[in-house]
Symmetry: C2
Subunit: 136 residues, 2 copies
DNA sequence: TTAAAATCTACTAAAACTATAGGGTAAAAG
DNA sequence: CTTTTACCCTATAGTTTTAGTAGATTTTAA
């Protein structure tokens, strides 16, 4: 299941991308427009800022804004920050690899074999989509 | 993340498929061979039986066995039973569809648009794999 | 220089889900 | 009738998710 964190994060990014100018947009405005709990969204936007997707400005007239052009923002990186590994199991993860402690030989493992394909197909989708592609 | 339930279920199915004859295999044997908690595996095999993948036999010489040929068992149906919906979000699910209550228009939703592609790509993988394809 | 408007930070907590263990019941075989 | 096995129900520790609360900090504008 996709977490609400990721869902809301994607919606917020898309909303910011759809605002043509790059003026800061307040959390409250995003939350209202996308039907998101404002406090929850606050923490999500914070992690997006810390990971280099957003800039912020405090005080009156402040808010969040995109730091790159929408077509430069790949879904692979967005998903990794919001949802974590793209692989469904660590033993097939590119960026978060971990060996299964119960599995003696990955090459012979059925789960490994299947999940490798799933990872590759998901990766292809995320690599073919930038934030610009999601704007309605 | 793939649940251990699914992981163990897949391993158990593969193990049963690799046993050439269709003699019942005891839970304990599967659990030992695949390094799985026996009690947990017990409940997993039960749901696999209830969903038409396995047959069982009680008493001495009993155990679980495949009810169909490995090449007839599609990963789509296995995954749906073990892991649940293949879609990451209900609004793009074929078999478990549900509307998002926070989303006014699916057609304009960025999350919907992205997750539809992810679902399709995952589906293609699962449809192209039967249990027979996972046997080492 | 004060007040208002925002983000930032840390802490807490309810709810849901996951993985597992325990103990007893039912059926099949010998 | 005893052993062996699957079957079934319950509880529970642990983790993750999804927030909510309270306040600190920074910026702008009056």
């Amino acid at each position: 299941m996709l977490s609400k964190k990721t869902k809301y994060g994607l919606k917020a990014l898309t909303y910011l991308a759809s605002v043509n100018n790059r003026e800061p947009v307040q959390i409250a405005e995003i939350a209202k427009h996308e039907n998101i709990s404002q406090k929850f969204l606050e923490s999500i936007l914070l992690t997006l800022r810390r990971n280099g997707f957003l800039g912020s400005k405090k005080g009156k007239g402040g808010g969040y804004y995109l730091i790159k052009e929408p077509h430069e923002i790949l879904m692979t990186s967005v998903m990794r920050v919001l949802e974590g590994p793209i692989a469904m199991i660590p033993c097939v993860s590119l960026n978060f690899y971990e060996k299964c402690d119960d599995c003696p030989d990955e090459k012979k493992c059925a789960v490994h074999k299947l999940m490798l394909q799933v990872r590759d197909s998901a990766l292809e989708v995320y690599r073919n989509n930038t934030l610009a592609d999601l704007i309605p």
